[in-house]
Every structure is written in structure tokens, then in C-alpha cells.
Amino acid sequence: MKVMLVDDSKTMRTIQRNILMQLGYKEIEEACDGQDALSKLAAFGPELLLVDWNMPNMDGITFVKTYRAQGGKSPVVMVTTEAEKTRVIEAIKAGVNNYVVKPFTPDSLSQRIAETLSRTKAA
């Protein structure tokens, strides 16, 4: 499965990449903000996206809205420090499928990914 990591922090992308690799995901592409992610979508064709909220140039919410408006159907998990209920609702309205609040444990991220993929498969 092809997974795209969108986060301006290289540290956070590396942590998420390591968790994904432990879960058996080998095809991983990284992007440092929404604009970078948009430019890599067509060539990579992600089947799952993990997206941060606060990023320079283009934030995660704008990216998800643009991705959905362009017809992007793959599930999106938002991985962010934004934990308020209003933010979660805003993210779901923008087209996010699941939500992980930083700081997270490897188990909690793995669980949310599995949950998201099984829901998408069932739909």
C-alpha cells in the first residue's frame, strides 16, 4: 500500500515512517507541506495519507479540501497537535476520515490507521 506523509517536521515524518515500516508498509512518500504534497500526488498515487494541520505554505486543512475537490478518494488521517473538538469537526467537514492527536504512541497511530482502512474497505 502506498502511504504519503505530509508534515513540515522531518522528525515527525521519520517517526511515522518507522511506525509504518514496522506495520509492513514499504511504499512511503514524504511531503513537507500541502503544496509539496499536491505536486507529488499524481506521480505517487497514495492509497492512504497522514497529514499534519499546521504547516507553512499550505496547511493540512487547505490541502485536504483541495485534494477532495480534485477528486482524491483515498482515506486521510490527520495527525496534529490541534486537539479541540471544534478543530476535529472542521477537519471531518474538510474530508478527513480519522484523527490522531500528537503526542501519540506507536500503538495509537497503528490502531487509527487500521480502523481507517477497515472502515474505508467496508464502505
Binding site: 517536521s9 522531518k10 522528525t11 497537535t81 486537539a83 503526542p103 504512541t105
Partner: protein, 164 residues
């Protein structure tokens, strides 16, 4: 700034260090930033807050603590002059500020992307119209601190109107 907001930062620092670094932290007694600090700042991660609460959060370390903490966070020994080291410090202050602001009930607060300053004995000048509180911490990696200088937006508006 009230005591519950300081408690939010103590809790969020504890949460980030325990969850992402597997390090237990002990908070000391908070003091105002005009008091002589307990160690020289050598590495600082800075986040701005805006919206209903405005101000700044600074996570500061002596270099030795920063190196230990970043090793626990990333699993790697990093040179403090490398961009990856600064990135990791920035992500820590981002998570601490984000988790703390989530505890400000009923407040709409946004945080900026982090900045990182590295250099012996530097001082981050906090806004002069906000009370600045330093929370000292100890962990297995050494001492560090979280400085918080935030004010309610209404106070900020009054100060701006007075200055105009």
C-alpha cells in the same frame, strides 16, 4: 494568566515527554521570568499564540540536556548545529503548546509554526505587557524549562488602544 493555564503547561510537558520520549519529568516551583534562571539557555524552541489568548511559549535547555532529550525523541545522536536537531526541538515545543492550548476551555487559540534559537546564554525577550512565568523541570536527561507569557485578547486590545 491564571494558575490553571500554568497547570496546563505542566500537564502537557509531562504528557509529551512520557508519550514520545519515555522520560518522566518533575516540575519545580514556577517563578517569574525576571528571576535569575537556574541554568543558561543554550537551545530554545519558540511558539507564538494568537486568538483569544496571545503570547509566547519558550522551551529552553542547556545543550547537554537538549542532546539527551533529542536522542530520546529521535533515537539518534544529533549534532546541535544540524537542521534536524532544530526541527526536533521545534516539534517538541509545538506538541507541548498544542496539548496545553487544548486545555484552555472555550478559548479559540492558534499556534504559530515553531522557531528555534541555538547559542550560549541567549535570552528570548517575552512581550512586555504579559506576565512571564518560568516552569523549571528535571528529567533523566537534565534540567530544562518552559517559559509562558500569555494574556487574554481583551487585555491585549486595551494595551494596544492605550498605546495608540
Amino acid at each position: 494568566m491564571d494558575a490553571s493555564q500554568i497547570t496546563s503547561f505542566v500537564a502537557s510537558t509531562h504528557q509529551v515527554f512520557t508519550t514520545m520520549l519515555s522520560l518522566t519529568v518533575t516540575a519545580g516551583k514556577p517563578y517569574t521570568c525576571c528571576t535569575v534562571p537556574k541554568f543558561e539557555n543554550e537551545v530554545s524552541g519558540i511558539i507564538g499564540m494568537s486568538g483569544d489568548m496571545q503570547g509566547m511559549v519558550v522551551l529552553s535547555f542547556p545543550t547537554a540536556t537538549a542532546k539527551n532529550v533529542i536522542r530520546a525523541f529521535t533515537g539518534m545522536d544529533m549534532d546541535p548545529t544540524s537542521p534536524d536537531f532544530a526541527d526536533a526541538v521545534g516539534e517538541l515545543v509545538n506538541m507541548i503548546s498544542g496539548a496545553a492550548k487544548a486545555k484552555f476551555e472555550g478559548k479559540n487559540v492558534s499556534i504559530s509554526c515553531p522557531s528555534v534559537v541555538i547559542g550560549k546564554g541567549h535570552k528570548v525577550q517575552q512581550p512586555s505587557d504579559a506576565v512571564c512565568i518560568t516552569i523549571p523541570f528535571e528529567c533523566a536527561g537534565g534540567p530544562f524549562s518552559v517559559e509562558v507569557a500569555i494574556k487574554h485578547a481583551k487585555v491585549a486590545e486595551k494595551v494596544a488602544a492605550k498605546a495608540a
